[in-house]
Amino acid sequence: MYTIIKKKRLINNIVSMDICAPRIAAKARPGQFVIVIVKEGGERIPFTVAECDQNEGTVKIIFQEIGASTKLLGCLNEGDLVYALAGPLGKPSHLDGYKKVCVIGGGLGTAIAYPQAKYLHDNGTEVHAIIGYRNSDLIILEDEIRLVSSEVFVATEDGSRGTKGFVTDVLKDLIEAGNVYDMVIAIGPLAMMRAVCNMTKEHGIKTIVSMNPIMVDGTGMCGGCRITVGGETKFACVDGPEFDGHLVDFDEAIKRQMIYKGYEAKHNDKVEHICKLGKEENDA
């Protein structure tokens, strides 16, 4: 069992949690992920590591309460225990030796893009960050990103903050304004990453994306997380989760993400009931 040391609700349905796991905290590098099981009988859920505190021995994950299991996790509080935590899994990002990198985070993807931006910044790379959200109420980690980037550009779909439109609209302007990036890192919804890759491919800018497909074990055993990269089947859990975005078959990845949509709806009802019960107990 692993204790939740810190919990912070960033916005309405996005939660940040620091969980005590000193061995993992000492080993995890940007780009790697952990598997969490909330309670006995629960799913194995992969989360990219947002940050680690080696002194405190904690691993930070930031997640959106979107499916049944993440909602259940969101119900837990500081001092509560999660049933299992395994990692760090996957390969760390290759972030050394770049002069200027554009880091793009879409929605929750900002949480995963942040450690990359931080590492690049700490190691002398100039970072431009583009962070995109549906509207200004959904903005997360802006302050943190600002601390590790020389320039930060916000885009919202409804125009309530920053540029009205998508991260790709901002990226296009930046490239056309003459910014030369030796790498773009795009992390967010599959459709966003695909759009970024289509644009950077035209300009010949190397682009790394972080894939988060459905998986079970996270150690290369089930093959559920397979994606096609450059015509070859790869396991996101051991060969990734980061890949050359220009080689990823996003259409296939988007379809594969849908396998358990029907089941998720059913489970959601069950969990909402459990969480409600928990809250009533706390209130009483």
Binding site: K27, R44, A86, M221, C222, R226, E252, R256
Partner: protein, 464 residues
Amino acid sequence: MPNMSLEKVPMPQSEASVRNTNFKEVALGYTDEMAKEEAARCLKCKNKPCVAGCPVCVDIPEFISLIEQGEIEKAFYKVKETNSLPAICGRVCPQETQCEQLCLRGIKGEPVAIGRLERYVADWAMKNIEENHDINNSKAKVAIIGSGPASLACSGELAKMGYDVTIFEAFHVAGGVLVYGIPEFRLPKEIVQKEINEIKKLGVKIEMNMVVGKVVSIDELFNEGYKAVFVGTGAGLPSFMNIPGENLNGTFSANEFLTRINLMKAYDPDHNDTPVFIGRRVAIVGGGNVAMDAARCAKRMGAEEVYIIYRRSETEMPARIEEVEHAKEEGIIFHTLTNPISIEDDGNGWVGGIKCVKMELGEPDDSGRRRPVVIKGSEYVIPMDSVVIAIGQSPNPLIKNSTPDLETNKWGCIVADENTGITSKEGVFAGGDIVTGAATVILAMGAGRNAAKSIDEYIRGLTH
């Protein structure tokens, strides 16, 4: 006088049409009377040919004769002297190719039902006695990676010798293939956990969620004071066929399909959250025990039609005959001499069918089995909702990749001495599927036991 019946006392089983709708154990086990009757078939041969067929050298005639005398507890301890997981082995060992194959009674008629009797004494002990263990873990620290059959056998032996043993398991439950691979109806998980608990009672510690190679390396384990490391991480990497359509929704590796159902218990959705997609028509590609397990699981999960698609004929199937028979009784449809060439899209990114060719058997190949050859123009499509690929597993490369000085062969198996488990890296021993490629529970246990002996010798050599 021995019981000269030519046939084994039949194993009571649940009815095929009932059992293929639930995950309860199929074989129900002998009663006391049945066990005594079967035990009386043993001739107690002086030279004990059966023992030579047992990878862990259980003194078979001795324990069977104790059953006959009604000394079940003694019989149990006799088995336990060399086999730390008798309830598991009694259920899943391929006795027909091991101990029972060498039984004299098998020359004319059926051999003695050694496996069933082993299971009987183990189940009897679980119900009737509390095992006594003398715990003394004052000797050196030994790390065991993985908690499958090889590791459990190795741990048990080392703990009995007085070593301070810690198992590192990547999953949240111990047991390896015994819990993620072999289904509940063949090997109830409660039985597995009880046998693991007995090993824990010897003083063996198990740390879950520890992905060795990621969270800690073998060299770091030595730095933490472990004097020797045993690698028993099994063959967990699924093979795919590399045919078109393999990434369509509804196509799974047998590992994923079985892990969702067995380890994550998708068959019990009231208490577990992990789903598994089944579909109305399911094709299992392959002819081994894993394929039979997947097929029988699919049926139990509610699939209407479940097919085994295998490129050779039934004679060449690597699955145990018993498993094939059980699958047939439960309504699994066999398409042998049939090879898939692609998986067809239903138009929405899901499996719609499986395109196959018919095969015929040609000349024997390297494995000695007749090579299947495609019959020209025999292509046809079987409508299907899901496809499970069960054509084999190879070793997981996590340890190999994180331990560059550990020698592996071209299949990714760790190179280790068959009898001692000694590898190219000092202090590191290996055994089970990680060395041999996918094999059986009992062979892995035998390797684990042998490695325990050589680990003991190695550590004693260090201190002198």
